[in-house]
């Protein structure tokens, strides 16, 4: 999606039904098969985990737990990055797999809820009958065709009745299923949206990864998942228990009869995504999942295995959403997820903390135009003329504090509010199925003030199973909010206006549309905030049915990828539709100055960005481009890592000097400890074996002259016999025959020395002499 400032406008349109025939889409022929061999090689590099102790040199003693670390047997020489899914918009963030220092890290585990559009919302009783009828006629059609013996593929037109009629399944990241989940070591969740698919993973037997989430994301994510389940229950009540584990629409022959648009939703563009579909997890799965996560605060250090230090920094996208810094002895990586310089209520984008990393994974897909290429391509794609001149780094600071953006935001809100007032005055109601928390809160506060200003007494309802808890939660998390909200805490005021609005009964929060409280208070016209943005489930379905025929009522949507499809089950729609794009993401203009500011050594960018920004001229960092389902290998810059040696140990070192005193060498003895992504070499605790110097390594050849001199000094005389140079096989350099005071021979070879004598004492004294002459370590 492109959120250029030019294009930040509203799609304000009235839909009075549309002709489906205009909307025939061709099957997209482009297929890109993923090489499975490639994938397999990654999988093969898995190793067993062994609990092990690290000691150096002549260390001993049994295990002290502090020294115990887990470690892969192999240390890889490069970091491997695989983009599993580019995601789509705000509610479906990207998903990647990263192999760093031999640790496999899954970045986010989202759910593609836009795929719900393929399903029919719960029909009213009348609808139901007609659907069943149409099914029958279709079946007859099919039979007759078979009867003719012509299995023609007839492109079907999209129609409300062609939507899948059955309990929905949910579309997970298909590529994730190609990985063995039990080999994932770490899962990092960057936003509340990124947690939605996690229960599918955590319920798999053998899954043992550590999951890190910011505390706010975890709480919001849990609420969202529970809400999803409670909305789904409605389907289950309607359709009853499932007859089989395999719904009919998943069968190949059924899929072939579907209109291309639905087929694309189900199978993906490449037709490979069928494996991603899953029936929804249960409440117990969510509970279990929440027990397995480790929550973090911003800038809290979490250490995985002593090897990886993980830190989350605010991304400004949503309350609790974050970017990550991974620190290891091999260097550090920054992961920039969807981030926003304009944070509605969330703590602002903390980009300063992401500075100066070895590698930066840029994964903000909001700044890219591609997520829209399937729908309304013309409206959103970027033309060459739109390729904006990048700003300089200096401008960045200015841009970030630019009030233009905020004033534009304000204008937008004012526009929405004035429209709302207009329609209310016309006697219609306003339905707002928006699930972006930041937007909802902004609208809620703006709308109630403008209602008051225009002296309108209409009720505002929030209908959602999670609303009550969510609103209560928002008022107790000042640490996750922007400065303005935090100031309210310090002033002793409520963080959000809704607390007082609730008290004053200006807004009503009810868990469901059939709540008793709602039924007795219900009053039209009214303003309703409710889930779900897909318009396939939740209270919105019922209210939309109620109001869609009324041209005086207004539907306010966040940007839905395929508006026609979204409204399909409710046709004909006389209701006015206001679709508003709220900015999210870093923004194309800012990408380059931001990267310059962050000064990474290498940047990993989505391939799509290559077309839009020319980063090749950038000298301060190198750029690598990634595409979905392809593994990118990034070699580490260093082939060595830092180690810290305790001074008390260092003072015990026994140094030897080599080669004209240019090199000093010492043998190490101590305990190697891996802690907080750093190697430490510490003094051993036990004092035993301290005199074990026997394993000295001797280097080079003893000099024959020196040896003879030393021998004669000790009163030993002999003569040298130089090696037979003609005998190539012989390793002997020279031999010394000793005849006085006793008989012995010293055979000196290129790789060893053999002392032959009858007397042990003699042998040891000769050994000492040679030992002195040789360079030993």
């Amino acid at each position: 999606m492109v959120y250029l400032s030019k294009r930040r406008r509203f799609v304000f349109d009235s839909f009075c039904g549309f002709d489906c025939s205009d909307y025939v889409n061709c099957l997209i022929g482009r297929t890109r098969r993923v090489t499975f061999a490639d994938r397999f090689s990654i999988k093969c590099s898995l190793q067993t985990k062994v609990l092990l102790l690290l000691f150096l040199s002549l260390s001993s003693s049994t295990a002290t737990l502090s020294a115990a670390i887990y470690k892969r047997l192999l240390i890889s020489y490069s970091m491997k990055f695989t983009c599993l899914s580019k995601g789509r918009g705000f509610h479906f963030p990207p998903c990647h797999m990263l192999n760093f220092c031999g640790i496999r890290i899954l970045l986010d585990c989202p759910l593609d809820l836009s795929a719900l559009l393929a399903f029919s919302p719960i029909p009213t009783s009348l609808d139901c009958l007609s659907v069943v009828e149409s099914f029958n006629t279709e079946a007859n059609d099919f039979d007759s065709r078979v009867g003719f013996g012509k299995r023609q593929k007839i492109e079907k037109l999209l129609h409300a009745k062609s939507l899948l009629f059955g309990e929905p399944w949910y579309k997970t990241v298909n590529n994730l299923h190609l990985w063995n989940s039990s080999f994932i070591d770490v899962v990092l969740i960057s936003s509340p949206m990124g947690i939605m698919g996690l229960p599918f993973l955590t319920r798999i037997k053998g899954f043992s990864a550590k999951i890190y989430v910011t505390e706010a994301s975890a709480r919001l994510g849990q609420l969202m998942m529970e809400d999803l389940i409670s909305m789904h229950v409605e389907f289950r009540h309607f359709y009853g228990p499932e007859e089989s584990n395999f719904p009919s629409w998943l069968r190949q022959e059924e899929l072939e009869t579907l209109p291309s648009e639905l087929r694309e939703i189900i199978l993906g563009k490449d037709g490979l995504e069928l494996g991603g579909w899953m029936p929804l997890y249960s409440a117990a799965d969510v509970k279990d999942c929440m027990l397995k996560i480790h929550t973090l605060n911003y800038a809290e250090e979490a250490c995985y295995n002593g090897t990886l230090v993980i830190k989350a920094f605010s991304s400004g996208m949503e309350i609790g959403s974050c970017n990550w810094i991974l620190n290891s002895p091999k260097g550090d990586i920054a992961y920039v997820s969807g981030s926003s310089f304009i944070s509605a209520h969330a703590m602002p984008f903390d980009y300063c903390s992401l500075q100066g990393t070895c590698a930066l994974i840029y994964s903000d897909f909001f700044s890219l135009g591609d997520s829209h290429d399937s729908a309304d391509g013309d409206n959103y794609s970027v033309s060459a003329a739109d390729k904006l001149q990048p700003m300089s780094s200096q401008d960045l600071a200015g841009f970030i504090h630019n009030s233009d953006e905020n004033s534009e935001e304000k204008e937008k809100l004012d526009f929405i509010c004035s429209n709302t007032i207009n329609y209310i005055q016309k006697g219609g109601s306003v339905l707002i199925p928006i699930d972006r928390l930041g937007t909802v809160l902004l609208l809620l506060e703006e709308m109630t003030t403008s209602l008051e200003a225009s002296d309108l007494k209409v009720p505002v309802y929030i209908i959602s199973s999670m609303a009550e808890e969510l609103l209560a939660l928002l008022n107790i998390i000042p640490e996750w909010l922007c400065k303005q909200r935090q100031e309210k805490l310090f002033a002793g005021e409520q963080l959000f206006a809704h607390v007082n609005l609730l008290k004053e009964k200006k807004i009503h929060v009810v868990p469901a549309i059939h709540s008793h409280e709602l039924l007795i208070n219900w009053q039209e016209p009214c303003i309703v905030f409710c889930p779900h943005w897909s318009m396939r489930m939740g209270p919105v379905v019922h209210l939309l049915r109620q109001w869609c025929g009324n041209p005086n009522s207004l539907l306010i949507l966040e940007d839905v990828l395929n508006l026609e499809l979204a409204l399909l089950p409710f046709q004909p729609v006389a209701m006015k539709v206001l679709q508003c794009l709220f900015p999210s993401g870093i923004g194309l203009q800012t990408v380059q100055p931001l990267l310059k500011l962050l000064r990474p050594k290498t940047v990993l960018c989505p391939e799509e960005l290559r077309l839009q920004i020319n980063l090749s001229s950038e000298k301060s960092f190198s750029v690598l481009y990634y595409t979905e389902a392809e593994t990118l290998k990034v070699p580490y810059r260093k082939h060595s890592s830092e180690i810290k040696i305790a001074t008390d140990l260092a003072s015990h070192f026994y140094w030897k000097t080599f080669i004209k005193e240019e090199i000093n060498i010492t043998k190490l003895k101590g305990e190697l400890l891996m802690e907080n992504a750093r190697h430490h070499l510490l003094l051993e605790n036990d004092n035993e074996n301290s005199s074990c110097n026997k394993s000295l390594e001797h280097l080079g050849l003893p000099d024959s002259e020196k040896l003879m001199a030393a021998l004669s000094k000790m009163g030993i005389s002999g003569n040298i016999q130089h090696g037979m140079s003609d005998d190539a096989k012989s390793q002997t350099a020279f031999t010394i025959h000793i005849h006085d005071p006793y008989k012995a021979s010293i055979e000196i070879g290129t790789t060893g020395t053999i002392i032959t004598t009858a007397d042990e004492n003699v042998a040891s004294s000769i050994y000492k002499i040679i030992d002195n002459i040789l360079k030993a370590v």
């Binding site: 605060n297 002793g492 890592s641 390594e697 050849l701």
Partner: protein, 531 residues
């Protein structure tokens, strides 16, 4: 390399906590408190010792405040606004929210009630708080390139934190006040296992070991219940923050369980306002209270009502929370005058009252005549109950923390002199850790850790990782193995996995020290191995 600790306050005493620590060139001031027992210059730490030229901005890298009690934050506004310090100040979110309340309350007491000249104005408190950076628990804050600080949950009052500081390789922790056992509304102190050179810990209860607080709480509730069931009135003089909320949660809970209908009152103003803060800061309380936020915020007291002055002499039983604590004046004193004369009534007092307050006099002789001032004397007939629980850790808790962190040195502050001396002895004898208990304005110098940086080759690290299983039964397998351990104590077969590697440290002229594997060394020196 050394860590230098200058104790400006709370050295061998309780009050005006202020410790100045110099680590590797960085100077951190931990706490900036005032002494409640003095009214002259002794009430503030002697800041001239920080820098004789009073150029505090270059003398101090940052100030860290552990919690909002006046003996930890009381001198802050004075130090920033009057002495002119304008560098960074760090405290947790609740401390930043609640500290100005405490300072303002104190200022009012000073000026309005005692008629003293004010040391700082309201405006100065606001200005001072603007300089404060709020931090979250466990958030690693990079104060500057070298100094890193981090807050850990201390459980003493809401937002109380222990602070960890690291400069270079030297690491230390300043605990502030902490509690190792959870209470009604706060959790227990939590900290990571760190490699510390220095631990500076409070030692209020250096020699006391307390039994279960639940028994003490029951005692309190029983006393209150007995009083109200006889139609008496209960006066609970408290300060606005902390204890009031804790006791109120306790009473609310008890009221629910016993289905009592007797009203609980809060004296107006501050305490009600303080509850609003507590409601927003509920995530800093104990897990049990945190979990209830969605259904009912535990600080949304159901049975609590506002108290009006006219209700003092109204008949019928009630419970009243009134400020200030220790009955040092104000509204609690006014109510006390009315209620103390009846045997039916009850006054609860905290475990510690500053000398000179009515609370202190009541504690010394529970019944009898108490002189309010030169002209007034009250015949105290009401019952007096002393609360026996305190949000400070006991001696066992201190020992547990020291044992857990195993620092190289310990400095004791915030305690009584003779008790600290015995705790010091205990820490030294039990753990063999060097321990100090400096008096005010004394400096302690301890050595700090320093690491030598080197590079290490991948080959070496990898060689360290190759498994090396040894079976103790046949110890000859591994020549490097320790066989000196007493065999009789070992099981028949002991499997060990000691990763042994041959490492050599090479320092080449003009290059960084590097650790290589033995085999690599030969390549490096271009020589062959010789046996």
């Amino acid at each position: 390399m050394a860590i230098e600790t200058l104790v400006l306050g709370a050295g061998q005493e309780v009050g005006k906590s202020c410790v100045l620590v110099t680590i590797n060139g960085k100077r951190i001031m931990f706490d900036c408190g005032m002494h409640m027992g003095f009214l002259d210059h002794r009430r503030y730490p002697d800041f001239t010792l920080v820098d004789p030229n009073k150029d505090f901005n270059s003398a101090i890298t940052c100030i860290i405040i552990t919690h909002f009690h006046l003996d930890h934050v009381g001198a802050l506004a004075y130090f920033t606004e009057v002495c002119g310090y304008s560098g960074p100040i760090y405290m947790t979110y609740p401390t930043k929210a609640l500290a100005p309340l405490m300072l303002e309350d104190y200022r009012k007491v000073m000026v309005d009630r005692r008629g003293e000249e004010e040391l700082f104005s309201s405006n100065q408190i606001t200005e001072c708080m603007k300089k404060v950076t709020a931090v979250d628990l466990r958030q690693t804050v990079q104060v500057d390139e070298d100094l890193q600080i981090r807050a850990y949950y201390a459980g003493h009052v809401i937002g109380a934190a222990m602070f960890y500081a690291k400069v270079g390789d030297a690491e230390m922790v300043y605990t502030g006040d902490y509690n190792m056992t959870p209470d009604r509304h706060l959790g227990a102190a939590q900290i990571d296992r760190l490699r510390l050179d220095l631990l500076i810990t409070e030692s209020t209860y250096a020699t006391t070991i307390r039994d279960s607080r639940y028994a003490r709480e029951r005692e309190f509730l029983k006393a209150v219940h007995k009083c109200v069931s006889c139609g008496g009135k209960v006066l609970i003089p408290t300060f606005a923050l902390g204890r009031a909320q804790e006791l109120c949660i306790l009473l609310e809970d008890y009221w629910e369980r016993m289905n009592l209908k007797v009203p609980i009152y809060f004296s107006a103003g501050l305490t009600i306002q303080a509850n609003a803060y507590y409601k927003m800061l509920i995530s800093w309380t104990s897990q049990k209270i945190k979990d209830t936020y969605s259904k009912h915020n535990a600080f949304d007291f159901k049975n609590v009502q506002k108290f009006e002055r006219s209700m003092i002499d109204a008949p019928g039983p009630c419970v009243l929370f009134a400020t200030p604590g220790m009955i040092s004046g104000g509204f609690s004193l006014e109510v006390f005058k009315h209620w103390a004369v009846s045997e039916n009534n009850l006054v609860t007092l905290p475990g510690y009252c500053v000398a000179g307050t009515i609370g202190h006099k009541l504690m010394s002789d529970k019944r009898g005549k108490v002189d309010l001032d030169a002209n007034t004397r009250i015949d105290v007939r009401c019952q007096v109950h002393q609360l026996a629980f305190s949000p400070h850790t006991d001696s066992k808790g201190i020992m547990d923390l020291v044992n857990f962190l195993a620092p190289k040195h310990v400095i004791l502050v915030h305690g009584e002199k003779h008790k600290m001396a015995s705790l010091k002895e205990k820490i030294h004898s039990e753990f063999g850790i060097q321990c100090y208990d400096p008096a005010n304005n004394e400096t302690i110098c301890i050595p700090s850790t320093h690491y030598v940086n080197a590079e290490t080759s991948d080959t070496f690290i990898r060689s360290c990782l190759s498994p090396n299983f040894t079976f103790q039964k046949c110890s000859s397998v591994d020549i490097y193995n320790s066989t000196t351990l007493d065999k009789n104590l070992m099981p028949m077969l002991q499997v060990e996995d000691e990763r042994v590697s041959e490492g050599v440290l090479v320092v080449e002229k003009g290059k960084k020290a590097k650790i290589v594997h033995q085999d690599e060394l030969l390549l490096m020196l271009e020589e062959q191995k010789h046996h």
